[in-house]
Symmetry: D2
Subunit: 443 residues, 4 copies
C-alpha cells in the first residue's frame, strides 16, 4: 500500500522482521514440544531458542537483505530463513523444522498476522463507534429532514441518523470478531497434512502458545475458505465506510450545507477556487472502500487450490494481506477522526426541514384525515393535491404552504380544523420513539 494510506502499527504487522520473528517462534515452539516428546534431543530445543531468539530479536534491515540474498540462490524463502537462522545456532540447527513443511510455518504465521490485523481493525471500528455514539447523543434531538430517494420525506433527528450508522459498525465489529476466529488456526501437519513425520501434539502445543485453534484437517495448507471469508468481511466493513462517507458528502453539498468536514488552517480547497471547502476526506474514503471491495475478489478465487495445494494463493496474499488491512485500517481511523470533528449546522437543518413548505408532514396528515373519517383514497388524493400545489410554487411569490393548501379543500376542512391540522403536523410526534430506538442501539 502506498505510504499515504499506511499507518505504522498495521504496516509493522506485515514487515519482514515481524514475519521472521513469528517464523522463529513457530520453529522454536515446535522444537520444544518435539524435544519433550523425544523426537529431537532435549538440548536442541534449548539451543534453538538460545541461539535464535536473540538473533531474531535483534534483526534489522541488513539481516532481511541477507536472507533475500540467500533466497536468490535457494529460491525458497523458508529454507533461506532457516539457513540464516542456523548460522546463529550451530549444530543443533538441523533439528529445526523436522517433519514440517514450509507451509506449516507460512500459514501459521499468516494466521498470527491476520489475527493481529483483525485486532487493530476491531479497535478501529470501536473508534468509529465511539465517535458516532458521542455525536449521536449530542444530536439525539437535533431535527433534520429524512430523505428517501434524495427527496425530503419526514423529519428525523441527526442523532438517529448517526445511531443507524453506529448500529452498522456495531454489526461490523461482530463480523470482524467472527472473521478473526475464521483465520485464527494453526497447522503443523507436514507436507500433505497427514502428520506423517510430525506428531499432532506439536501442532496442539504451538497453537495453544500462539493463541490459535488447531486446524482440524489441513492439506499442505490451511484451507483458503477461511481467508476468503476474512477478506469478504473487510469488503462488507468497507461498505459501511462508504455509506457514512456518502452521507457526509451529501450533507456538505452546496445546496444542503447541513454538515461539513473540519477544515484545517492553511488548507487550500482548490488551486483555482479559493471559496471551495470540499468533502475530500469522505470522497477519499469512498475510493478506499472501492479498493477494499476489489481485494475480496481474488481472495474468493483463492479458495480453489489444486489437490492438496498449489501456490497461486501466495502472490495474491502477499499483496492483499497488507493492502486490504492497511487500507481499511487507514480508512476507519480517518473516518473516526472525521466524524469526531464533523462540523454540524443545526440551523441549516431547520431551514431545509422547512424548505418544502410543510409537505414533509404529509404522511401524518394522511393518517389524521383517515382517522377523522375520510377514505384512504380520498385522503390520499387530498393530501397529494395539496402537496403538489405547494411543491409547484415553491419559492414563487404566490406560494402557499401545505397547511393552507389543505384547508382550502372542502373535504379536508369538513373533517379537520386548522388547529387539529397543526396538531397532526407537530414534528414532536416524529420524535416520540427516539428514546426507544436509542435504547435498542446503545443499550
Amino acid at each position: 500500500m502506498v505510504p499515504r494510506y499506511t499507518r505504522p502499527a498495521m504496516a509493522e504487522i506485515w514487515s519482514p522482521e515481524a514475519r521472521y520473528r513469528i517464523w522463529f517462534e513457530i520453529e522454536a515452539l515446535a522444537a520444544e514440544k518435539m524435544a519433550e516428546l523425544g523426537t529431537i534431543p532435549a538440548g536442541a530445543a534449548a539451543a534453538i531458542r538460545a541461539g535464535g531468539g536473540p538473533k531474531v530479536a535483534a534483526m534489522g534491515a541488513a539481516d532481511v537483505a541477507r536472507i533475500d540474498e540467500i533466497e536468490s540462490v535457494t529460491r525458497h524463502d523458508v529454507i533461506a530463513f532457516l539457513t540464516w537462522l542456523g548460522e546463529g545456532i550451530g549444530e543443533d540447527a538441523r533439528y529445526m523444522h523436522q517433519g514440517l513443511t514450509s507451509s506449516d510455518v507460512l500459514d501459521t504465521c499468516l494466521a498470527v498476522q491476520m489475527t493481529r490485523a483483525a485486532d487493530l481493525l476491531i479497535a478501529d471500528v470501536e473508534s468509529v463507534m465511539s465517535a458516532l455514539k458521542t455525536r449521536a447523543l449530542e444530536h439525539k434531538f437535533t431535527p433534520t429532514i429524512g430523505r428517501s430517494h434524495g427527496i425530503h420525506a419526514e423529519p428525523t433527528t441527526f442523532g438517529l441518523k448517526l445511531a443507524n450508522h453506529y448500529a452498522e459498525f456495531s454489526r461490523n465489529r461482530q463480523r470482524l470478531i467472527a472473521a478473526r476466529a475464521e483465520v485464527a488456526t494453526c497447522a503443523l501437519s507436514g507436507p500433505i497434512g497427514t502428520f506423517a513425520s510430525v506428531d499432532p501434539r506439536v501442532e496442539e502445543h504451538v497453537a495453544a502458545k500462539l493463541g490459535l485453534a488447531v486446524e482440524p484437517v489441513s492439506t499442505q495448507v490451511i484451507p483458503r475458505d477461511r481467508h476468503a471469508a476474512f477478506f469478504a468481511t473487510l469488503a462488507v466493513v468497507a461498505g459501511a465506510v462508504e455509506r457514512l462517507s456518502t452521507e457526509v458528502r451529501h450533507l456538505q453539498r452546496s445546496e444542503v450545507r447541513e454538515a461539513e468536514e473540519f477544515f484545517h488552517k492553511g488548507q487550500k480547497g482548490s488551486s483555482a477556487m479559493p471559496h471551495k471547502r470540499n468533502p475530500v476526506l469522505s470522497e477519499n474514503l469512498t475510493g478506499l472502500a472501492r479498493l477494499v471491495r476489489g481485494y475480496a475478489m481474488p481472495a474468493l478465487e483463492n479458495i480453489t487450490l489444486w489437490h492438496e495445494r498449489d501456490i497461486s494463493h501466495s502472490s495474491v496474499e502477499r499483496v492483499i494481506g497488507p493492502d486490504a488491512t492497511i487500507a481499511l485500517d487507514f480508512a476507519l481511523m480517518r473516518l473516526a477522526g472525521m466524524m469526531e470533528k464533523l462540523t454540524v449546522y443545526p440551523e441549516r437543518m431547520d431551514e431545509n426541514l422547512e424548505g418544502l413548505g410543510g409537505v414533509v408532514h404529509s404522511q401524518k396528515v394522511l393518517l389524521a384525515l383517515t382517522q377523522a373519517g375520510m377514505s384512504r383514497e380520498g385522503a390520499y388524493s387530498a393530501v397529494q393535491q395539496a402537496a403538489m400545489a405547494t411543491w409547484l410554487k415553491l419559492g414563487k411569490p404566490d406560494a402557499q404552504r401545505f397547511r393552507e393548501n389543505l384547508l382550502v379543500q372542502p373535504e379536508v376542512s369538513a373533517v379537520m380544523s386548522g388547529a387539529e391540522l397543526d396538531a397532526a403536523m407537530d414534528p414532536q410526534r416524529d420524535f416520540r420513539h427516539v428514546e426507544t430506538i436509542f435504547a435498542r442501539v446503545f443499550g
Copy 2:
C-alpha cells in the same frame, strides 16, 4: 435463473404468489396488533384477515396478472397489491398499512424469503456433508498420492481428502447459519424509520410471529450490509463447490483416472468422440461457482444507499435474490449427488502412487537420514540426488527406483541398511494419524 439450473422448492420461495402471501401476512399481523393497541377498530383486523386470507391463499396466475395491471397504472407495487387485496375486504381495507411505508412490507418480506432460502441452502450443504462423510468413511484408508503443485508429494488417503472437503462444508454450514441470522430481521418503522405513525410494538409483534428479530434501527429500509454479508457468504460457499469440483475434474483426467463422475445410460459424451466420458457435472459446477461469486459484487455495492434510502438496491435484489440462491441450491444438490455416485478407482490410485519410483517417500527418508546422523544439508543433498536420478529415468529401460538410487550413495549406506530404508519408507507411517484427524472432523 434459467430453468436448467432451477429447483422447484427454491423457485417457489421467489414466486409472486409466495411474495404476495408474505405481504398479506405482514399486513394482517400488523393490523391485528394495531387493533389490539386501538389504533384501528378491532373489527378491521378481523375483516382484513377474513377477507384477505382466503383471497391470497387461493391466488393464482390470473391474480398476479391483475396486480401487474394495476401496477402499470399506479407504478407502485405495494399500492397495486393493496388495491387488489382491498377488493376482497371492503370498507375496512382502508385500515391496512396504516402508518407503514412500502419498504416495511418489502424488506420484511425479503427477510422471510432469504431465511427460507437460507434454510434450503443449509439443508443442501448438509446433503453434501452427508455424501462426503459416507464416502470419506468408505475410503478412510484407501491410499492415494497427495499432490502439491500438481506434483506427487506424499501418500495420503482418499478418505482424508474427502474429510478435508467435509470440514470446509461444515464451516460453510456455520457461515450460512450466521448469514441467515444476518438477514432475519423485521422492520415496520414507517417512512423514515422513526415510528412516527406506527407503534414500535407493532414491529415487535410482527417480528415475533414471523420468527424474525426486530431491526434495532432502520431508516426506510433494513440496512443493506446485512444482505451484502449474506451474498458474500454464498460466494464463499460457491468457492467450496468449485474446489471440490476441481478435485474431481483432476481425478478424472485421462492420465489420472482415479475417480469418475457416474456415467448415465444413454449419455453421449461427445457428438464426435464416442469414447469420451467427461467430467461435465464438475465443470458445470465450476461455472456456477463463478456466477455466484459474481453476484456478490453488486450486493456489496448495494450497501451505500443515499440518506435514509434510495431504491438502487431493488433492481439488483430482484435479480440476484433468486439467481444467487437458485444457482447455489442447484449447485449444492448436483454436487451432493455427484459425490454420492462418484466412481472411485483404488487400483488406479495405487498405480499412480507407485508411478514415480518411490520418490514420494523422500521426506520420510530425509528425516530418517537426519535421525541416523547425517546433517540436514547432507541428507537433503543425498535425497535430492537419488530422487532426481529416479525422476529423470522414469519409464526408461535403465530406470532404478528411489530406494536403489539412495543405497548406491556411500553416505547413505554408511548410516542406513536397505531394511532400515524400507522401514523408513513404509506407507503405513503416513496413515498413523488418520484416525486422529477423522476424530477431529467427524467427532
Copy 3:
C-alpha cells in the same frame, strides 16, 4: 433476466427457437460446402435444406419441449437437436455434422447471437445519444452551476453537461462496435481445432454466409478472451448509464430541483407520502449498472479453460449471455426515454447559480486581480477572505455578496473598480468556448 427488465427483441435473440434456427443454418451451410467439395453426396445437402428448413422455420414450444425430452436421454444438446431434426430429413440426415464437433455449432451460434445482441445495444446507445444531443442543443446556453466535490465551482451550461455524457456514449458506441467485432468469428474446425475431419473451406464458407470472420486458430472452442472483452465492454457502458443516472438523481434532490424525471399520470410516488416524486428510474438504472458490472467478473474468469477446452464457461454464458445483454438493453432504452422526457427547470438552475452570493466567480476574479498586478498569493488570499466572509453569512440578515466583500478590501479596490470587477465576473465569459466544445463533440 426477470420479465420486468426484459425487452422482447433482445429476449428473442436468446430464445430456444432462435438458437435452433441458427444451429440449423450452420449445419445446412456446412453440408452445402461439403457437398460442393464432394465430402458428402450432392443430394444430401439439398435434402438437409429441404427437410430441415421448413421444420425449423415452423418450430414452436412443442418442438422445443420434444428436443428437451430427447436431451434428457442423450444428455447432449446438439445430438438431441440433430435427432429431432433428422426425423424431418430421413436417410440423408446422417451426412449432417460430419467431421464437426458440437462446439463448432454452439460457439458459432453464440457468435451470431452476440453480434445480434451487439447490434441492438449499439442502436440503444444511439437512442441515448440522440436524446442527449437534442437536449444538449436545447440547453446549449442554459446557465447552471458546475460542481466539483458536490460544491459549487463555476458556471457552466446544462447543454455542456449533456454534451459530456453524449461524448461518453459516443465512445461507448465505438467500444461496442469493437466488442462486436471481437465475438464475430466462426469456428468449424472439429473436435480439437485441427480440421482433422473437416476441410477449412467449410469454415470459410459458413463464416462468409453468416457475416462472421474466420477464427484463425480454435481449439475445440472459440477462445474466451473474446467473450470476456465483450462483457467487460458492457460493464464500461453500464458505468456510463450509472454516471448519467447519478447526475439526474442529484439534480432532482429536494434541495437542488434543477431537473426531474417525467412523472406519469396516476403514478404514486410513495404509499405513505403523496408529495413524493422520486427519481426512481435513475435509481433503478444505478442498480442495473451494478448487475451488468457484476456479470463481467465470471466472464473474465471464463478465459482460463483447461487445455483445448473445458465446459465451465457454458453455465456462465447460459446465464450472463442473456442476462447482461437484456439488462443493458433495458437500461439503455429506459435511459434514452428518461432523458428525452426529463423536465428541466432553468429558473431553479439560476437560483442555485446565484445561491452562494457570487463566490462561484472567484477563479475569474483571482485571475483578473493577478493580471491587474497583485501577486498570486496576495490575490488568492484576498479572494479566499472575501469568499469565506460571504460563505459564512449565507442566508443571514447581514449577508454581503462576494462582490462587496471584495471591494471592502483596500488591496482589491486599489487595483480594480467595481465596474472592472463586474466585467471580470460576467458569466458570459464562462460560455465563450461553448461553441468550440460543441463543435468538437457534435462535429
Copy 4:
C-alpha cells in the same frame, strides 16, 4: 506493489520524480502557449522553463520530501509542487498555472504515465509473442494429445497449442493499443471544463507536444470511462496469462510430465521433499492474474463521479495505477522467460498420446465407417462399444487396443479391412491443416 513483483522500468513511471517532471512539462508548455497568445508576458514562459527545468531535472528524494512537507500544510499536492517550483523561478512563477485547475495537470500527467505504462505492456506482450512463436515453430509438428474436459480427445501438435496462445496474445496486443489510445488524451480546460480562463489553444498545444489527443469535452476531469476501459483491458490480458500458465501447470503434473518449467541450479523445490520440481512460476502467474482482474472492479466503479467531478477516483488510482501495471508487467515478462526456457518432453507426449490404446482416433474411424456405408447411429454405436471395451481394460493384462476391439465387430469388419482401418486412424491425417493454421496465425 511489493518489490518482489516490481520491475524498475515500470516502477520508474510511477515515481514521484517522474510525476513532478511531467507536471512541470505541462505547466511549462502551457505557459509557452499562453505567452505566445499574450495571456502572460513573453518573458514569463522563458523564465519558468529556465528556472524550473533544471530544478526538476535535478530533483531527488530530498526535494520530494520537501514537497511533501509543504503539502502537509497546504493539503493540496499541486499547490505544494508549484510553491516548491516557484522558489526556483522567482517573480514570474505567478504566471504559472493561470486559468488552470489542478486536475488539468493531474489528469494530463496520468495520461502520460498510463501511455508510458501501456508502451511497456505492449512490449511485454510482444516478448511473450516472440517466445511463443519461436517455440511454436520449433514444435510445429510435435504430436501431442488434444484434450477436452481434461480427457484425451484427438491428436494435435504442441506447436498448434502454442499458436493458439500466440493468437490470443496477438489479440491482446491490439487491445492494449486500443486501451492506450483510450487514455492518451490531454485536458487543460479549467475548473469546470469550460475554458473560462484558459484558451483552448493552450490545451491543443500541450496535447500535441505530449503526443496526446485533445479531450473533446472534459468537466474538471478527463472522464473515467477511459481509465475503466484501460484497466478492464489489463484484466483481459491477465486472463491470457492465466490460461497459458494453467496449461503449463497441467503439462507439468506428475502424471502428465509433457513439459516443465526450467529448474534453476540451487533451486529447492520443497523444504521437505527434495524430489519436487514444482510449476511455481505458472502458479505464481495464476495468482497475479487474479490480482489484476480484481483491480478492474474499482476502476469500473470509478466511472460514476458526481457532477463535474468528485475525487473518489483518486485514492483508487494512486493504488491501482501502479499496482495493476506493475503486476501485469512483471507477470508478462515472467511468462515470456518461462515460455522461452520451458523444457518440452516430446517422448512423453508420444507416450501419453498412445496411452489410451488408440481410442483417441475414434472420430476419424466414425467418419470412415459412415463413409463406408454404415448409418451414423450404427457407426457411433460400434465405435463407442470398441472405445469402452478398450478404456475399461486399460493397463489390464487382457487389454486390447481400440483397433482390435473394432475389428471383432462383424458390422465393422463387413465394411472395412484392417488396412483400411489403419489408414483411417493415421495421425498424419490430423496434421494435414497445420500449415494452413500457422499461415493464418503467423502470416
